[in-house]
């Protein structure tokens, strides 16, 4: 049986087209880069017209990008762009926004507390958990190195 399974797995690999990795990377680079350009433009906008500095401009920029993501997700365009862009729309902060917003929309039929509240972070929750945890580990390493250096 194992032999049959293995020979079938080989057949599956042979008959399945490989994903176009190079093309996908290029699409992701262009779309992801474009989102970053918009982000940079927003940063300059807030720094030029409002009272933000290079250090504080991150917050309004991210908030604006997530606001646009919310519109694109709600009107059903974000998933179509993502099918083309792949990692290009998943990696920037817009991808994080989309993960939260799409889950919130999806579960609103189950109520605001258990539906929206309980499921909003079902995709993005692990990003937060491991993001915070890896920041903690890095901070710990940095602190130890500093102590050791002194």
């Amino acid at each position: 049986m194992v032999q049959t399974q293995n020979s079938y797995k080989n057949l599956v690999t042979k008959k399945t087209d490989n994903p176009p990795i190079l093309l996908n990377c290029m699409k992701a680079f262009v779309v992801g880069g474009f989102i970053c350009v918009i982000g940079q433009a927003l940063s300059y906008f807030y720094m030029y017209f409002f009272d933000f500095t290079e250090k504080t401009v991150g917050n309004p920029t991210v908030a604006t990008l997530i606001f646009f993501t919310m519109l694109l997700t709600g009107f059903g365009f974000y998933d179509r762009i993502a099918q083309f862009a792949g990692a290009g729309t998943a990696v920037p902060v817009t991808g994080f926004g989309n993960a939260v917003i799409s889950a919130a929309i999806e579960h609103r039929t189950e109520g605001y507390v258990q539906g929206v509240g309980g499921n909003m972070f079902k995709l993005a929750g692990s990003v937060i958990l491991f993001g915070v945890f890896s920041a903690f580990v890095l901070a710990l390493i940095k602190t130890i190195l500093n102590l050791w250096g002194n």
């Binding site: 049959t4 399974q5 079938y8 797995k9 057949l11 599956v12 008959k15 399945t16 087209d17 994903p19 996908n24 997700t73 709600g74 059903g76 974000y78 998933d79 762009i81 993502a82 099918q83 862009a85 792949g86 990692a87 729309t89 998943a90 991808g95 989309n98 993960a99 917003i101 799409s102 889950a103 929309i105 999806e106 579960h107 039929t109 995709l123």
Partner: protein
């Protein structure tokens, strides 16, 4: 009558006296638009949730099936139905409204032919006068349960498939005009240790090949005895793999005689990736498209092999392989 170990021969020839086939807007843009009775204009089907819309699809299809058969809902003895949602609630909730004695079924996307086989068995053994059977699925409700939120931006691979929105029902009777059900083969659960839930065609192909070869062997017939052998939702890659497996078993079926419902439902310009899927897929294409072709005498004998992947999101996350099943039912032109 049992023939071999897992094949039933129906000597009383249960008849499909009518069908009800209902789809959504994406199906309306598909390849076999003319074979549907009704399309809902949006995914919500005038309801407030995808799950309620799923139930509405089944109810609408039953209205068409019953009125086309010129009988009342109360004339139907048993309702055999299934879908993909947890605890098959859309089917059960539809059965509540229809008020017909009900057997809930689950063989994932092979449910349509499980229902047709059991329904034919009930009619053949004179245990029922009328049986209504079918299967349904709803793209957004299924995506929500098995994959990601519908608006989540993930890039689907070429091998993934598009879950059909719709419900396909057939009413079976002992007498009457229509295509006859002549035999059925109940499949075994086959697992070739595949793990990719975005490549279900590959997981299901061995189950289809096993059921087809068993059916041919137990009925002692050749593939050429059928005008067409039609699989449920193997889609592009699964169909190719199934043909290769059958060839290894020394069963050769010409390309043009081996079709797949997942490749018949949608047009090539639609973004379905490898093709259609979902428990409605085989029900819609069989009860709509192919039953019409048999009635028009374009086809005489077909074998429908619905294929189902018996996984759940939990088994995928626990890194278990994907067990699959296929049930085959042969349908013939009644008027010779």
């Amino acid at each position: 009558m049992l023939n071999g170990n897992q094949t039933w021969i129906f000597s009383n020839k249960p008849t499909i006296i009518s069908t009800g086939v209902v789809g959504g807007p994406f199906e309306k843009a598909g390849k076999i638009k003319a074979d549907f009775d009704y399309f809902f204009d949006d995914q919500w089907c005038n309801e407030t949730s995808f799950e309620k819309a799923h139930t509405a699809l089944i109810e609408k299809a039953s209205d068409f099936a019953v009125s086309k058969a010129s009988i009342a809902h109360s004339d139907i003895n048993f309702f055999l139905h299934g879908d993909l949602i947890n605890q098959i609630t859309p089917s059960s909730f539809a059965a509540k409204k229809l008020n017909i004695p009900y057997l809930g079924l689950f063989s994932a996307c092979a449910t349509s032919m499980e229902g047709l086989a059991i329904g034919a068995m009930l009619i053949n053994s004179e245990s029922a006068n009328y049986v209504m059977t079918g299967a349904a699925s709803h793209n957004s409700a299924v995506e929500k349960q098995f994959r990601y939120p519908t608006e989540y931006g993930s890039q689907k691979p070429n091998t993934s498939q598009w879950t059909a929105t719709g419900a396909g029902l057939a009413i079976l009777s002992k007498n009457g005009k229509g295509p006859k059900i002549t035999s059925a083969t109940i499949g075994k659960v086959i697992d070739y240790d595949l793990h990719d839930p975005f490549h279900m065609g590959a997981a299901m192909a061995p189950a289809a090949a096993d059921t087809i070869s068993t059916h041919l062997k137990e009925r002692n017939i050749k593939p050429s005895d059928y005008d067409l052998i039609i699989t449920g939702d193997l889609a592009y890659y699964g169909r190719e793999l199934c043909l290769s497996l059958l060839e290894e078993m020394n069963i050769s079926i010409p390309q043009e005689k081996f079709l797949d419902c997942g490749l018949e439902l949608y047009s090539s310009s639609q973004p379905t990736m490898a093709g259609g899927s979902g428990s409605a897929c085989s029900a819609l294409v069989t009860y709509g498209h192919f039953i019409n072709k048999i009635k028009n005498k374009e086809l005489n004998k077909i074998l429908v092999v619905a294929t189902g992947a018996l996984l759940s999101p939990l088994t995928v996350q626990q890194k278990q392989s994907i067990p699959c099943i296929a049930h085959a039912v042969s349908i013939e032109n009644g008027e010779v």
